[in-house]
Subunit: 211 residues, 2 copies
């Protein structure tokens, strides 16, 4: 499958397809029309057909999509079963919330360890995630080659840490710091988590028919 | 402006437009072509023109967009300056992280109070957010009519709390619990925050040219 032909906007929608198909599959739905799938996702049926055509289709005109096949195919494209490895940097409130409550495994990610500067935290564990001192990060990365780093450290430390992680071979940064990271010299992908986008969308929708 | 004609997909992109235009404006850019704006946003120029046409345009063929005007117009559509009010339910890790670190005001939202069941927390404050006991929620909502509730409570409590908030007149739920909330009887909008979607997108992109 020629990845370079898939637009970022399509890639961005794939996890939503995956999640909805997983829910449909779990609730026993075996087949769904592009119209109904579109309704669930808030997209148009033609957009869904276009999106899935980037990967060679999956649908049969008039018969809709086989939910479990499509879920498995999109999971394969997303690499959910490949086991991406990750480290988390910064065990403040948000880092702790992710370690304790977020199901990394369900997204196909193995969180190997969390790092912090605070010596009081080191040696503890969060759930099953070991908590290590940031000074051991270089050695840890050399030994375990994590693909992804979760950035939940204070924002003023983020740019320098992003550089350091890039040099350590990390290929993706999941950035919760709201800092715009510029790493053009490195082959590193940055995914910014912008809570505000979601909240502003909600405010718009919640206002409804008000003048 | 006839809101009902704007598709959910367009509404979902507006905060991203707003954020990028804000950044451009702050860095002194006064005018931008739809091509360059598209590049920044990972969209096509024609998609941007279509999106903005839903609201009557703003662009002049060949001259690009006036950054500050467009930012202000989209901010107006999103209602950033109207001051939506909110309460937060559940002061665990994620609730605490939002109260301490998330800039609600920048998204045009005034967070009035946070609620929890834990008596040890009550009476404290998180930054400038007062922390109140959940038993006082009904009286608080009657007095202050918050438009939005942030759901950061344990997932098993979420459906019941969502019902309660709907009855109390809340019109939007910002849902961090990963529970699918069904509130079809009520006129309440739900915005789910799905961390996994963002992480899976990153994993895909970070794999890059790997076979």
């Amino acid at each position: 499958m020629p990845k370079q032909k898939v637009s970022p906007a399509v890639v961005r929608r794939l996890p939503r397809y995956f999640r909805h198909l997983e829910e449909l599959s779990l609730s026993g739905v075996t087949r769904i029309s592009s119209r109904l799938l579109a309704q669930r996702l808030g997209l148009t049926a033609s957009q869904i057909r276009q999106d899935l055509n980037c990967f060679g289709g999956f649908g049969q005109q008039g018969y809709g999509y086989n939910v479990e096949n499509l879920r498995a195919e999109i999971g394969e494209i997303l690499g959910v079963s490949r086991g991406t490895t990750a480290v988390l940097i910064g065990v403040g409130n948000i880092g702790r919330a992710l370690c304790n409550n977020f199901d990394f495994a369900r997204a196909g990610v193995g969180l190997l360890a969390a790092f912090d500067v605070n010596p009081a935290l080191v040696g503890q564990s969060l759930g099953r995630i070991p908590l290590l001192h940031i000074d051991t990060l270089d050695a840890f990365c050399a030994a375990h080659r994590p693909a992804i780093a979760v950035l939940t450290l204070p924002r003023e430390l983020a740019p320098q840490m992003a550089e350091r992680l890039s040099r350590l071979g990390v290929r993706g940064l999941w950035n919760f710091t709201n800092v715009d990271l510029h790493l053009h010299e490195h082959d590193v992908q940055v995914e910014d988590v912008h809570f505000a986008d979601s909240l502003m969308t909600l405010c718009y929708r919640a206002r409804g028919e008000e003048p």
